[in-house]
Symmetry: C2
Subunit: 292 residues, 2 copies
C-alpha cells in the first residue's frame, strides 16, 4: 500500500488543480470568483478529501480519478464553514492559514456570499459526477446530512453557545462529534459509497470515523495551547481567550493527551474487522500522524 | 383547470404543515431549530413552491403529493437567502414579512448559522424524495445551479456592488435574472423534471420563466415605491435610500409599468407552443396577479 506522505504528494496537487479549474469554470462574477477562490485555494491540508480518497485507494484504487471531484466537493463545504466561522459575528478571526481571513480581505458581505456560493456548488459537483445515479444520490445525502442542521451546523451552534457555560466531557464530545467529526465521517463514508462497500465494512469505517474525528479535534485543541502562531498560521491561545470549551481546558494538557491516545487506539481497533481481507495501512497512517 | 386562488388555498396549508413537520424532525439543537423554523414559517407567499406545483398540476396532477417535499426544499433555499440578505453586513433590515428579521430576533451568529443550515437541508430533502434517482439528480442539479454562484449568489453580489454605481438597463436585467429570476426559473424547471416533460415543452417553460422572473422583480421594485410599510410588512422606499438600482429608478414609475406589461405579455406568449395540447390557465394566472 502507498505511504500516506506519497499519497498526499501525489493527490493534493491533483485536487488543487481540479479545484482551481472547476472554480474558474463555475463562477463568472469576478468579485465572487476572487473571494471564493481565495479561501478554497488558501492551502489547506485537504484532510477531508484525502480521507475519501484513502478509502477509495484502500478498497478500489481504480476509482481514484473519478473520485477526485467528489473529494473536491467536500473541500468546498469545509471552506464555506471556515469563512463563516471566521466572521466578526462568529469567531472574529483575522488570520487563517497564515493569510487574512476572507472578510478581512473582501469585506463581510462578500465573505458571507462566498460561503453561501460554496454550498450549492458542492452539490452541483456531486450531481455531475460520472457515477451511477444511485451512487450520486447516496453521496449527496451523506454530505447534506453531515454538513446540515443535525450535524456540522448544530455543532457550530453548540460551540458558540458553550462559550457562555462550562460543558461536561460528554457534552464536549457531542459538540465535537457534530462540529468537526460529522464532515470527517461523511468524507470516509462517501468513500465507502463510491466503493459500494457492504454494511459490515461500512460499519467498521463509521466506527473508525467517530474516533478519528474526536482525535482530530483533541489534537487541534492541544495545538492551540502548545504551538506558536507561526507554526499554526493563525493566532494561538484563542480558545481560552474566547472561553471555548476544550479538552485541555477540561482535562488539563496531560489529560487531553491521554484522551487523544485513547481515541487513536479505539480508531485503530475499529479497523480490526477489515484486516483479514484488506491492507489498512493507509487509513492507519492518519492515526500515526495525529499521534505525533 | 383549478383557479389559482383555490390552488393556493389548498396547497399553501399543506406546504406549511409539511415544512413545519420536517423541520421538527430534521433539526434537534433547540436554538437552531427555533431560528430556522422562525424564518421558514414566517408566512411567506410560497411563490416558488407554488410555481413548481402549478407545473405539476398542469402536466401531471397525480404527482402533486410526492412533489410537495420538492417544493418545500425550494422554500428552504429562498428563506436562507432572505435571512442572509437581511444581515447587517448586507441590507441591514430590521423587518421582514411584518416581523423582526432573524438576526434581530436571534442575534447575528445564529442568523448566519440558520441560513447555513437551510442550504444542505434542501438537498437532503431532495435526495430523500420518492422519485427515481435519475429524476432526483436532475432536481438537485437544477436547484444547485439556480441557487449557486453562477446565478442567485452572483445576483446578490452584483446587487451589492451596484449600490456604488448606476447600472444600464441591460445590466439591471442581467442582475435581476440572477438575483430573483434564477430561483423562480429553477422552481418551474423542477416541475418540468418531475413531469419528465420533453425538450420542447421544457423550453417553453424556460422562456416563460425568464419573463415571469423579470416581471416579478419589476413588480417588487414598483411596490417598494408605491406601497405603505403596513401593506408590505417591511419598510418601503428602501431601494432609493440604499442607492439600489431599480426599474422605477432607471425608467420612472410609468416606464417601469410599461416594462412590467412588456414582460407579462412576453411570458404569456412563451406559453403559446403549449396551448394546443395543454390547459395553461393556472400558469397564466400568475401573470394576471402580477398585472394587478
Amino acid at each position: 500500500m502507498i505511504k500516506l506522505t506519497d499519497f498526499r504528494t501525489e493527490l493534493v496537487p491533483a485536487l488543487d488543480s481540479l479545484l482551481s479549474m472547476k472554480l474558474r469554470q463555475d463562477i463568472k462574477e469576478p468579485a465572487l470568483q476572487a473571494a471564493m477562490t481565495y479561501s478554497v485555494m488558501a492551502g489547506g491540508k485537504r484532510v477531508r478529501p484525502l480521507l475519501l480518497l484513502a478509502v477509495v485507494q484502500t478498497f478500489q484504487a481504480s476509482l481514484i480519478p473519478q473520485s477526485l471531484p467528489a473529494a473536491a466537493a467536500i473541500e468546498l463545504i469545509h471552506t464555506y464553514s471556515l469563512i463563516h466561522d471566521d466572521l466578526p459575528a462568529m469567531d472574529n478571526d483575522d488570520l487563517r492559514r497564515g493569510q487574512a481571513t476572507n472578510h478581512k480581505k473582501f469585506g463581510e458581505a462578500l465573505a458571507i456570499l462566498a460561503g453561501d456560493g460554496l454550498q450549492p456548488l458542492a452539490f452541483q459537483w456531486l450531481s455531475d459526477l460520472r457515477f451511477a445515479d444511485t451512487v450520486k444520490i447516496k453521496l449527496i445525502r451523506e454530505l447534506a446530512l453531515g454538513a446540515g442542521p443535525l450535524n456540522m451546523v448544530a455543532g457550530q451552534v453548540a460551540d458558540m453557545q458553550g462559550e457562555h457555560k462550562a460543558l461536561s466531557l460528554a457534552e464536549l464530545k457531542a459538540l465535537h462529534r457534530c462540529k468537526t467529526g460529522a464532515l470527517l465521517k461523511a468524507s470516509l463514508l462517501m468513500g465507502a459509497v463510491i466503493c459500494e462497500l457492504d454494511s459490515k465494512r461500512t460499519a467498521a469505517l463509521s466506527d473508525f470515523a467517530d474516533h478519528l474525528g474526536l482525535a482530530f479535534q483533541i489534537k487541534d485543541d492541544i495545538l492551540d495551547v502548545t504551538s506558536t502562531a507561526a507554526e499554526l498560521g493563525k493566532p494561538v491561545h484563542q480558545d481560552q481567550a474566547a472561553n471555548k470549551n476544550t479538552y485541555p481546558g477540561l482535562l488539563g494538557l496531560d489529560g487531553a493527551q491521554t484522551a487523544l491516545t485513547t481515541e487513536l487506539t479505539a480508531a485503530r481497533r475499529a479497523l480490526d474487522p477489515l484486516v483479514a481481507s484488506t491492507d489498512i495501512s493507509l487509513l492507519a497512517a492518519f492515526l500515526t500522524e495525529l499521534a505525533n
